[in-house]
C-alpha cells in the first residue's frame, strides 16, 4: 500500500497524458462523425438507387465487422500491402489512422440513428407545413428539426458513452491513450514495473468522464421535455 502511494503521482501524471490523447480521439471522432453521419443518412434515404445501395453496403460492412479489425486494416493495409505507408510513423500517424477509423465507424452508427429520427417524424407534420404554404426548407428547419433532435438524443447519448470506452481499442495500433499509458507500468516505465494496478485505475477516468456526459445528456433531454 505504501508503495502504491509512492508510485501514485508518477502514475497519475502518465495516465493524465494518456487520457488527454483519449479525449482528443473522442472529440475528433464526434466532430467528424456527427456531420458525416448526416451525409450517410441522406445517402441511404436517397431516391437515387445506386447511391442508396452504395451507402447501405458501406454501413453493412462497417457495422458488420469489429472496429478493432477496421483499425488494423486502415492503419496497416496501405503500408504492408500497397507498399505506401500513407499515415507515416509515429504518434501523429497513428492518431490520424485511428481518427479516420473511428469517424467512419461512428458515422455509420450515427447515420442509422439519424435515419430513425428523420423517419420518425410523422408525415402529417410535413403535410401541415405544406398546406400552410411553407417551403420544404422551412418545414425542415422550423417544423421537423427540433422533433428529430428530441428523438435522437437518447440513442445518441448511448452511442457517445460507448465511444468514450471504444477509444481504448486504438491501443491495438499502439496509440498512446490511457490504456497504453497504464499498461506501460507492467512492462516497466519510469522505475515502476510489474504493476497492474495503474491499468485497473484507468477505469476511474472512464467512469468520471461518462458520469459527466450522462449528466449533460440528462440536462439536454430535460430541456427538450417541454413538448411531446
Amino acid at each position: 500500500m505504501e508503495l502504491i502511494l509512492e508510485q501514485l503521482p508518477i502514475v497519475i501524471h502518465a495516465l493524465n497524458i494518456g487520457f488527454l490523447q483519449t479525449l482528443k480521439l473522442f472529440f475528433v471522432t464526434l466532430i467528424g462523425a456527427i456531420p458525416l453521419g448526416l451525409v450517410i443518412a441522406f445517402g441511404s434515404m436517397s431516391r437515387f438507387k445506386p447511391l442508396s445501395y452504395l451507402t447501405k453496403i458501406i454501413v453493412w460492412i462497417v457495422r458488420g465487422t469489429p472496429l478493432m479489425i477496421q483499425l488494423l486494416i486502415i492503419y496497416y493495409f496501405p503500408g504492408l500491402v500497397l507498399g505506401n505507408p500513407i499515415w507515416g510513423g509515429g504518434e501523429t500517424g497513428r492518431f490520424l489512422a485511428a481518427s479516420v477509423s473511428f469517424i467512419l465507424n461512428y458515422a455509420c452508427y450515427f447515420s442509422e440513428i439519424y435515419r430513425g429520427g428523420i423517419q420518425g417524424v410523422p408525415v402529417g407534420q410535413t403535410e401541415a407545413g405544406l398546406v400552410l404554404g411553407m417551403t420544404k426548407t422551412q418545414i425542415f428547419f422550423k417544423v421537423k428539426l427540433l422533433q428529430m433532435i428530441k428523438r435522437i438524443v437518447p440513442p445518441m447519448s448511448n452511442e457517445i458513452i460507448t465511444l468514450v470506452k471504444d477509444t481504448s481499442l486504438a491501443r491495438i495500433i499502439a496509440l498512446q491513450e490511457i490504456i497504453w499509458a497504464g499498461q506501460a507500468f507492467m512492462k516497466g516505465s519510469q522505475g515502476i514495473s510489474g504493476a497492474i494496478w495503474p491499468l485497473f485505475f484507468t477505469a476511474v477516468y472512464y467512469l468520471i468522464c461518462n458520469g459527466i456526459l450522462t449528466l449533460l445528456f440528462g440536462r439536454l433531454e430535460k430541456k427538450l421535455d417541454y413538448f411531446r
Partner: protein
C-alpha cells in the same frame, strides 16, 4: 361565378382508380359537405384540392383562375404551387399541430414565414409581428381558447387541439377552408365543441368543404351535399333532398345505418 369549379378530376394509385371523373362547383359563402363510406375517395379529393396529391387529369379553378389543368403542359414549380395552395386551408383529422410550439405560435408561424418574403419586412418587422400576433389572438379567442394560447399541444384536449388547428388554417385567410373528418379522432363531447365552432364559421359565411361522418351535422350546416361512392359522385343537391329523399339505392343503404341508429 362559382368560387370553386372542379372538372373531371381523376386520380389513381398504382392500379386502383380512387377518383373517377369528379366534377362539382361551390358558391362563395356556401358550405359543402361530402359524405360517403370510408375508401370512397373523399379524403383523396380534399388532398387533390390542397395539392398534397396531383390529379392525373382534370381542372381546378378558383375565382375563375385555373390552379390546376392537366392539359396545360407546363409543370408547375414549387414556388407556384405554394402560392396556389394558399387559396385553400386544410384541417386534418389528426390535427397535425406542431408540438414544439404553443397554440399561439402554431397559429402565427406560417404567416410570419410568409411575411419575411414581403419587400418591406425589414423596416416594419416589429409592426408586422404585432399585427400577426393580434390576429392570432383574435382567432384563438373566437375559437374559445383565450386562456389556452400559451399551452403546448400536449397540454390540450383533442377538441382544443382541433380548434387551434382551425385557427391556424384561418390565419392565412384561405378562400376555401377544407375539413378532413375533423371530429373522427374525438369523443362525442369534444366533437360537439368542434362542430360548434365550424357552425359559427358557417354562420359568418366562410366558404367550406367538410368531409364528415357526422350526418346530422352535415344536414344541419351544409348548403350542398355530395354523396361519394367508389370514387364517383353518386348524388348531390341540397341536404334535404340528398339525405332525406335519396334517389339512388346505394345512398339509401348508406344513410339507413345512420337514421336507424
Amino acid at each position: 361565378m362559382s368560387i370553386l369549379e372542379v372538372e373531371h378530376i381523376q386520380k389513381s394509385f398504382e392500379h386502383t382508380e380512387v377518383l373517377k371523373d369528379i366534377s362539382f362547383s361551390l358558391e362563395k359563402g356556401q358550405v359543402l359537405s361530402i359524405i360517403g363510406s370510408s375508401g370512397s375517395g373523399k379524403t383523396t379529393l380534399l388532398r387533390c384540392l390542397n395539392f398534397l396529391e396531383r390529379p392525373d387529369s382534370g381542372i381546378i379553378r378558383v375565382n375563375g383562375e385555373s390552379l390546376f389543368d392537366s392539359s396545360a403542359s407546363s409543370r408547375k414549380n414549387e414556388a407556384e404551387i405554394r402560392k396556389k395552395r394558399l387559396h385553400f386551408g386544410l384541417v386534418f383529422q389528426s390535427f397535425n399541430l406542431f408540438p414544439q410550439y404553443t397554440a399561439l405560435q402554431n397559429v402565427m408561424l406560417a404567416r410570419e414565414l410568409l411575411a419575411k418574403e414581403q419587400p418591406d419586412y425589414k423596416s416594419r418587422k416589429k409592426e408586422i409581428h404585432q399585427e400577426i400576433e393580434a390576429q392570432a389572438e383574435i382567432l384563438l379567442k373566437q375559437m374559445g381558447l383565450a386562456d389556452r394560447m400559451q399551452n403546448y399541444p400536449h397540454q390540450l384536449s383533442g377538441g382544443q387541439c382541433q380548434r387551434v388547428a382551425i385557427a391556424r388554417a384561418l390565419a392565412l385567410q384561405p378562400d376555401i377552408l377544407c375539413f378532413d373528418e375533423p371530429t373522427s379522432a374525438l369523443d362525442p363531447e369534444l366533437t360537439g365543441e368542434v362542430l360548434k365552432v365550424i357552425k359559427e364559421l358557417a354562420d359568418t359565411k366562410t366558404t367550406m368543404i367538410i368531409v364528415t361522418h357526422e350526418m346530422a351535422f352535415a344536414r344541419d350546416v351544409a348548403d350542398h351535399v355530395i354523396f361519394m361512392d367508389d370514387g364517383c359522385i353518386l348524388e348531390q343537391g341540397n341536404p334535404i333532398d340528398v339525405m332525406e329523399h335519396p334517389k339512388e339505392e346505394r345512398t339509401k343503404q348508406f344513410l339507413a345505418r345512420f337514421t336507424q341508429g
